[in-house]
């Protein structure tokens, strides 16, 4: 059997003396969609940042397709197939929409960049309309589309997505999730951090619940959605 695309082994991360992740282990198969849910401060964003190499890891291991990338610098991880859509989108506000998308292909040096740009514009027609506009002038939803499009320009196998629904109108959230469904259908593996547990569990076949920096529950999304603890704490039922 081929190794999992992403494997975290007993991952520990701390901010000073405060431990934010207390030994998290999980793995993702190629093509899988995994939702990471939990309360504020449970360590979801920390986990994503640590996987992306943006936070130093105290202990434990991050493996990408069997290769240990725990101590690898963040900027080396995109060429290896790992793209992050950061919390709060992290778009380059002064650059145009087009330039933002090109930044996503910064590490690439191939002939397919133009055709990939076209496919992002097809996926997000709103971005095509605003191609030459400064990204800072876009609405929140458009910025989220841009952040996703930019990440996809790096042709990732693994997409790390931090709170794509944050601060967006419900209709925009629906549209974003529809796009994510398409992206995953193309074979991209997804690790989704999301406050909106219901939507996340609908999109992803597997769910991990993080509580105080540790995995408290995990399993098949449909089964977990019937778990009374999950229903009470995260689905508001």
């Amino acid at each position: 059997m081929s190794p999992p695309l992403l494997e975290l082994t007993d991952l520990r991360v701390a901010y000073g003396r405060i431990e934010a992740l207390r030994g998290v282990s999980l793995s993702l198969r190629v093509g899988e969609r995994l939702a990471l849910i939990g309360a504020n401060g449970a360590g979801k964003t920390t986990l994503l940042k640590a996987v992306a190499g943006l936070l130093p890891v105290l202990d434990g291991r991050v493996q990408l397709q069997g290769a240990d990338v725990t101590t690898q610098a963040a900027h080396r991880r995109l060429p290896q197939g790992m793209a992050l859509v950061p919390e709060g989108r992290g778009i380059f506000a002064d650059l145009t929409v087009h330039e933002n998308l090109l930044m996503g292909a910064y590490c690439r040096d191939d002939d397919a960049i133009d055709s990939d740009l076209d496919s992002q514009y097809r996926r997000f027609p709103r971005l095509a309309e605003r191609r030459e506009q400064a990204a800072g002038t876009l609405s929140g939803g458009e910025q989220q589309m841009l952040a996703i499009g930019r990440a996809l320009m790096g042709r990732p196998r693994l997409l790390l997505l931090d709170e794509p629904s944050m601060g967006l109108a419900p209709i925009m959230v629906e549209r974003i999730f529809a796009v994510l469904r398409e992206v995953c259908a193309d074979g991209v593996t997804l690790l989704l951090v999301e406050q909106n547990a219901r939507l996340a569990m609908q999109l992803c076949e597997r769910t991990v619940v993080l509580e105080h920096g540790a995995v408290s529950l995990q399993g098949d999304s449909a089964e977990l959605a019937r778990d009374p603890r999950v229903m009470a704490a995260y689905l508001g039922q």
């Binding site: 992290g90 930044m103 590490c107």
Partner: protein, 338 residues
């Protein structure tokens, strides 16, 4: 207009510049234009650090000092050295660039106001260092500074002597003006090329969001260091030229006020915009000189000099800066809004 003719037009403009300025405003203003070009080089160097990469550097004048002292020590009776300009200029760029990397390396993790404080400290350290390096071994002559620095000279002929061309006599101030405006133009063109390169785009991304830049595969540390080193090397070249044209350097010329003045040129002109920064340098060099006229003006209008013109100058200067920030917060000539 085709590119070739643009170049010819710029060349003719630069050649005619000192003659026109002299005819209109007098030869003192030719010197001022030369200095404005020198400050434009300096400001364009800082613009790489602050404008492109978004790293607030309050100690930038230290690199100007490194270049100036390099020229002073290798071209004066201090050590009896008289190195030619073609050797000192690249060396000044190299040494200042090295100092830039030295400052950059320990500050890579700092941002915003924290970075500003550390760079401010660095600038002061260099100044105090120059001030005290006269004991136990006298290197810099301490607060007295270094005198009798060789005048700028290019390939055997000195820029401090009038130049005879046929029947035409070109005064030294003109020659300095030519050298400085020409070099400033080169620095401006280099900045434009940088801005529109992979390096420039990486800097912009880091300025906007360092985390997202790293996630896009940009080596944030490396590009920050590069910005510090390149910006500093421009400052070093400007410093060497400054020493050559002044004939005298002392630590006093490299105080925090000077760093802030260079930063003002960028902010006033339009941060990140090459021509805006050049305009800012021109205005902030020329304005204090133009305001000297406030003394004679008082005398003719009020019969007596009521307020010392040098005090009034700073007042008008300060008011102009405040007014500017209120009316045009992005600078006089910002990058075209998208």
């Amino acid at each position: 207009m085709p590119k070739r003719w643009q170049l010819v037009a710029v060349g003719v403009g630069l050649l005619a510049l000192p003659w026109l300025v002299d005819a209109g405003l007098g030869v003192a203003w030719v010197r001022i234009v030369g200095f404005a070009a020198l400050y434009a080089m300096l400001a364009l160097g800082l613009n790489i650090v602050v404008g492109y990469a978004g790293l607030l550097d309050l100690g930038y004048i230290a690199f100007f000092a490194v270049g100036a002292y390099l020229y002073a020590l290798t071209g004066s009776p201090q050590f009896g050295l008289h190195w030619p300009l073609w050797a000192t200029l690249p060396l000044a760029a190299l040494l200042a660039g090295g100092a830039g990397a030295l400052l950059g390396a320990p500050t890579l993790r700092l941002r915003g106001d924290y970075l500003a404080i550390v760079t401010l400290g660095f600038g002061e350290i260099i100044r105090i260092f120059l001030n005290n390096l006269n004991t136990p071994v006298n290197v810099t002559n301490g607060p007295q500074g270094i005198n009798q620095i060789d005048a700028l000279s290019l390939g055997g002929f000195s820029l401090a002597q009038p130049f005879q061309l046929g029947g035409l006599t070109v005064p030294p101030a003109y020659l300095v003006c030519y050298l400085f405006t020409g070099l400033a133009l080169l620095v401006a063109l280099a900045s434009l090329r940088l801005e529109d390169s992979r390096i420039g785009r990486a800097w912009q991304a880091i300025r906007e969001d360092p985390l997202a830049a790293a996630a896009c595969g940009i080596d944030v540390k490396r590009y920050k260091l590069l910005a510090f080193a390149l910006g500093a090397s421009f400052g070093g070249v400007a410093g060497a030229l400054f020493a050559g044209v002044q004939g005298f350097v002392s630590p006093e010329s490299f105080s925090l006020t000077e760093s802030i003045m260079v930063l003002c040129m960028i902010v006033l002109g339009g941060m990140g915009h090459v021509w805006g920064v050049a305009l800012g340098a021109l205005i902030l060099t020329a304005l204090p000189e133009a305001l000297r006229a406030l003394g004679p003006l008082q005398k003719s209008l009020l019969g007596q000099v009521w307020v010392d013109p040098s005090d009034l100058r700073m007042l008008v200067f300060g008011l102009a800066l405040i007014g500017m920030m209120l009316l045009r917060p992005h600078g006089l000539w910002p990058r075209s809004a998208q």
